[in-house]
């Protein structure tokens, strides 16, 4: 409510903000949109656990045999923000589920709608939570020395979320792609970024497999690279000026963090001296360039996808990121990707994030490697 009062609609530089009610992986990675199903049965268990809630239902098949189905829903956070809790449904409740079934033929469904038979009430649905844009731009908060603050001012809370784009596509390219990075037409793959032939074929392969090989989906691998700024649960900057470093706290995944050093150190001795231990978030050094915080990161490992949608990268990946707090509520993120192991030339992309004022990072965990 507080956020709603603060953030009222006006055209800011932010485009269409992504709503937070989004699964941590492409739903189509696991479920087949072309296989709808209706399940009527009795709830046996509500598993209210990250990353996704599951409702287990006993359903009679055509031979009158009871079969237990797992109905997967959004995360506990998204459901709670929509007013639901672990007691919304109880074992013994009779429900009807509309959904789509799992690609692997198992008794799993993605639940698009759950209705309690006794009352006709729809439950456990997620209401969009993206805030309206502010009526007018509020000034960028500054440190006493005039440097823009990346985080909240003392005595307040806030984090960055609602990215205006959740896919990495080269600036100026227009392709039809969903919020998980799944292209509507795989033939558009070559337009997304200047990939080497092997990288393009691998990207197409990942797309044709509906992103089901995503290490974040399968193994809860951290969202390194630009992907950390595409997360539905946002990020938070913590500026530790006394020790000349900036932490980026990740709102999803495993709640891990990235360190950006601002003490003037170079990559020499970081990457070159320790490059047998490349990292998910690489080794980052940052400095201020006028009103922009510029971060140069190298030393990535290859064990993750650096963007939604599965664009490949190699350990030669170097990212130059520019963070500009345009106003209190808007953070412009621009990234130049240099990876001559996978791409033919450097290329640039960018989007905006919105300030979720008065809130702390949601406690979403990808735990137990459970998809």
């Amino acid at each position: 409510m507080r956020r709603a009062a603060i953030l009222l609609a006006v055209a800011s530089v932010v485009g269409i903000a992504t709503e937070r009610g989004a699964a941590h992986h492409a739903i189509s990675a696991k479920f087949d949109d072309t296989k709808p199903t209706t399940l009527s049965g009795i709830v046996t268990l509500v598993d209210w656990t990250n990353p996704h809630v599951h409702v287990y239902v006993n359903v009679k098949d055509t031979k009158n045999q009871l079969l237990n189905w797992a109905v997967e829903l959004e995360s506990p956070i998204d459901l709670q923000q929509s007013g639901w809790n672990r007691d919304t449904l109880q074992p013994g409740d009779a429900i009807t589920v509309q959904g789509i079934t799992a690609r692997n033929g198992s008794r799993q469904a993605w639940g698009r709608s759950i209705v309690v038979n006794a009352t006709g009430r729809q439950v456990l649905n997620v209401k969009p939570s993206a805030p309206p844009a502010p009526l007018q731009a509020r000034p960028t908060p500054l440190w006493p020395d005039g440097q823009p603050r990346l985080g909240a001012v003392p005595g307040s809370d806030g984090y960055w979320a609602y990215p205006s784009a959740t896919v990495l596509v080269e600036n100026g390219v227009n392709v039809d792609v969903d919020q998980y990075g799944l292209l509507k037409n795989v033939a558009d793959a070559a337009k997304v970024a200047p990939m080497q032939p092997w990288a393009l074929s691998l990207y197409e392969n990942r797309q044709r497999r509906f992103l089901q090989d995503d290490p974040t989906f399968i193994n809860c691998k951290p969202p390194g690279g630009p992907r950390q700024f595409q997360q539905p649960y946002g990020i938070q900057f913590v500026e530790d000026r006394s020790r000349q470093r900036v932490f980026v706290l990740i709102g999803g995944g495993n709640r891990n963090f990235r360190v950006i050093h601002t003490d003037g150190r170079s990559h020499v001795g970081q990457v070159g001296g320790d490059d047998d231990n490349p990292l998910y978030y690489g080794r980052a050094v940052g400095k201020w360039d006028g009103g922009a915080f510029v971060v140069d990161t190298r030393g990535f490992n290859e064990d993750f996808w650096f963007t939604n949608g599965g664009l490949p990268h190699t350990d030669k990946l170097r990212l130059v990121e520019r963070f500009t707090r345009v106003d209190l509520d808007t953070l412009r993120y621009e990234v130049t990707v240099e990876d001559l192991g996978a791409y033919t030339r450097p290329w640039t992309a960018g989007w905006n994030l919105r300030w979720a004022g008065g809130e702390t990072l949601p406690a979403h965990f990808c735990q137990d490697n459970r998809p």
Binding site: D47, W198, P215, T314
Partner: protein, 131 residues
């Protein structure tokens, strides 16, 4: 009992999901398997392959035979692999291996290459998997 049930159901939910995904260049890494029958260098083979952005490099049986790979290529249209390497037999005579194969289960961390090998001393099947 409830925990047991949740555990069992979670296992059901996990069924069919690959354990580790493919990342990086598809040929990069250590590959172990067989190239048999190979009376000169044995039936077991280890390849360590790398990618510098332009060229595939690597070694066959590092530490023992140390055959440097040359003329390596990967055609992403079908994921067709071609590798060559020079070696010597026990008498010191030159042996050149030519490996042709195809990557299988591309999306998996432990993807494989199956194909053939040939040299002046013989030919046979190659089957290796990435570690």
């Amino acid at each position: 009992m409830r925990r047991l049930l949740i555990g069992l159901l979670s296992l059901v939910a996990l069924a069919g999901a690959p354990l580790l995904a493919q990342e990086g260049h598809p040929l990069k890494g250590s590959w172990i398997g067989t190239w048999s029958p190979n009376p000169v260098h044995g039936n077991d083979v280890l390849l360590v392959l790398s990618w510098d952005g332009k060229t595939i490099t690597g070694t066959i049986n590092p530490g023992t035979d140390n055959m440097a790979i040359k003329n390596a290529s990967l055609n992403p249209d079908g994921w067709v692999v071609h590798l060559e390497a020079d070696a010597k037999d026990k008498s010191g005579a030159a042996v050149t291996y030519v490996i042709d194969g195809k990557i299988e289960n591309l999306a998996m961390h432990n993807r494989g290459i199956t194909g053939t090998w040939k040299s002046q001393r013989g030919t046979g099947q190659l089957k290796i998997n990435r570690q």
